[in-house]
């Protein structure tokens, strides 16, 4: 029997606002517990909800980058349930009239390209965080994350393979982070994904029993969870050893298994109803246009510009356009050194290796682009060699040095005096008779060694190309 896996995704993405959705507490990740909390977001009575305008605008932006139909009127609704991470006993979400519907995202996999259609995107508030304390067997509650604005992006059941899911999440992450809508960090929980999965016989148009898997905190874990869960469904269909029930399951990545979340099994009645504390929000064309104007050039348009107009390699262009920050750095440096290929090489080869060593993500690289450009110019004008340039860039990144002044102060300019260089080469030839003989005997290997010796004699300040030429000339 051949089976088909049918999946739909619910992706939660925290919006990149300064403050929370309904109060002015900071929405920043990583504060000490309960430091970003006020009476409103800890459920105390007396503070009416006040909508964060920026959150709505980022919601509109999310609608735009996913080609969704934006509602002229959206409402906020309430979902009722008791849990310690929900201090009011209700979540403010959009149930009856979400911000947008019917969007789509195109993805590429090895199997080709495919359009994933979206049911809707809605804005809602995040819940708090629970920390289990095994020592006291109690649960500790932190409301910093409570009421941080989210969008939930609900797809139709269009996915058939884990590859498609992975490609979709990568694409969403690129679209959303690029437009500044969310930083989409799965590790920090600013991007979370639930997978609805069912399995049916190939060719059937009846959906099988659906389970929802939660708690995957990396794209790789999602792929593993899909693999496990679809196999579990297939086994159940084939062997009938296990009866599939519609339920929510928790993914345990350490053990590579999904577990039933029993407390959610009873179909909860969330008693959704329109939030009488907030009026409908009207979204007119002017507002949408205003948001559209603030969006950066979409990544795929920029990619085309980089590869076609600037003739840059596809691989490099893809890396640069994967991060809005890298695009900004590229643009800023290019403004000073108008050699696109050089700039890309410096970013790809040097800057990214520095940031990687420092453990900094592409979106967080913080470098003075004018000084970065100055380093490139110094190398380009043959004031310093490439190796010194590399060191200068590290100093710019770490200490923000002024490269020009630093070169002068530390005498790093290349040895351009030919007589000095000739003297160094002669000295090396004299000191390394054995190697010289080997070279003359046909060994190319020792040539590199001799170049190194010359560089050493000039304290690394010689132009390696000049050394090459001179050495060859003098050895022949």
């Amino acid at each position: 029997m051949k089976y088909e896996v049918v999946m739909g995704l619910e992706v939660h993405v925290e919006l990149s606002t300064q403050s929370k959705l309904f109060c002015s507490c900071s929405a920043k990740f990583g504060a000490d517990p309960n430091e970003n909390v006020c009476p409103a977001c800890s459920g105390m009575p007396g503070m009416p909800a006040v909508i964060n305008k920026r959150a709505v605008e980022l919601g509109i932006a999310a609608a735009l980058v996913t080609n969704s139909e934006i509602s002229a009127v959206m409402t906020f609704d309430k979902k009722n349930y008791f849990y310690p991470d929900l201090p009011t006993g209700y979540q403010i979400t959009q149930f009856f009239a979400p911000i947008c519907q019917n969007g789509w995202v195109d993805i590429e996999t090895e199997a080709g390209s495919k359009r994933i259609t979206l049911k809707q995107i809605h804005i809602e508030e995040d819940a708090g965080k629970l920390v289990h304390d095994p020592r006291t067997r109690s649960t500790l509650v932190d409301y910093n994350r409570t009421s941080v604005p989210l969008v939930e992006i609900v797809s139709n059941p269009d996915f058939r393979t884990a590859d498609e899911v992975t490609a979709y999440l990568d694409k969403l992450r690129s679209l959303l982070s690029f437009a500044g809508i969310s930083d989409c960090k799965m590790q920090e929980g600013s991007m979370r994904c639930d997978v609805n999965i069912s399995v049916r016989e190939m060719g059937s148009d009846i959906l099988g029993t659906r389970t929802e898997i939660k708690n995957m905190n990396s794209i790789k874990a999602i792929a593993r969870a899909i693999e496990f869960e679809s196999q579990r469904h297939i086994n159940a269909l084939e062997t009938k050893a296990e009866k599939l029930v519609q339920e929510t399951r928790r993914w345990d990545d350490d053990n590579g298994m999904s577990f039933s979340m029993r407390e959610k099994e009873e179909a909860a009645d969330y008693r959704y109803f329109p939030n009488p504390e907030l009026m409908p929000v009207f979204i007119d064309e002017a507002w949408i246009d205003h948001v559209r104007k603030t969006l950066p050039e979409p990544a795929h348009v920029r990619f085309e510009r980089m590869t076609m107009q600037l003739q840059l390699p596809e691989y490099d262009s893809r890396i640069i356009t994967s991060s809005l920050n890298l695009c900004r750095i590229f643009d800023a440096v290019l403004g000073h050194v108008s050699k696109p290929k050089e700039v890309v090489n410096w970013i790809m080869g040097d800057l990214l290796s520095i940031s990687k060593t420092a453990g900094v993500s592409d979106d967080e690289i913080d470098i003075d682009c004018e000084k970065f450009a100055a380093v490139i110019a110094l190398v380009d004008d043959k004031i310093v060699n490439r190796a010194v340039g590399k060191k200068l860039l590290l100093k710019v990144y770490e200490q923000g040095i002024d490269p020009k002044a630093y070169v002068e102060e530390n005498g790093l300019a290349m040895v351009s005096d030919t007589r000095l260089l000739e003297a160094a080469v002669q000295a090396v030839i004299a000191e390394n008779e054995k190697s010289v003989q080997e070279y003359r005997g046909g060994s190319q290997k020792v040539f590199g060694f001799l170049v190194g010796q010359v560089m050493k004699k000039t304290a690394g300040k010689a132009d390696p190309q000049s050394v090459n030429e001179l050495l060859k000339k003098m050895l022949s």
């Binding site: 606002t17 900071s26 305008k53 849990y83 304390d133 500790l140 939030n275 907030l278 009026m279």
Partner: protein, 91 residues
Amino acid sequence: MLEINGYEAMAMLDLDEAERKQLAMHIEGLKESFSALDSVDTSGILPLVSVPQLQNVLREDVADKMMSRDEILKNAPEQYDGYFQVPGTLD
């Protein structure tokens, strides 16, 4: 007698028998009186959630710290190390 256990669970209440009996009677009476609504034809009428002519006051996205953690935790029945504390949810 009207079965109200489901509503008790939703409302997070656990009534004793006497109270349950008393309230179930009232709820039954109220529910009956609500059948008066059935006679009104509301087709084509939109729900009125709240009184209209009001507008939302949207807030600019500026973060500001209103209260210290100590002030927030001041009203808490139990707290531990900067957290609110409840019995284990995983037990």
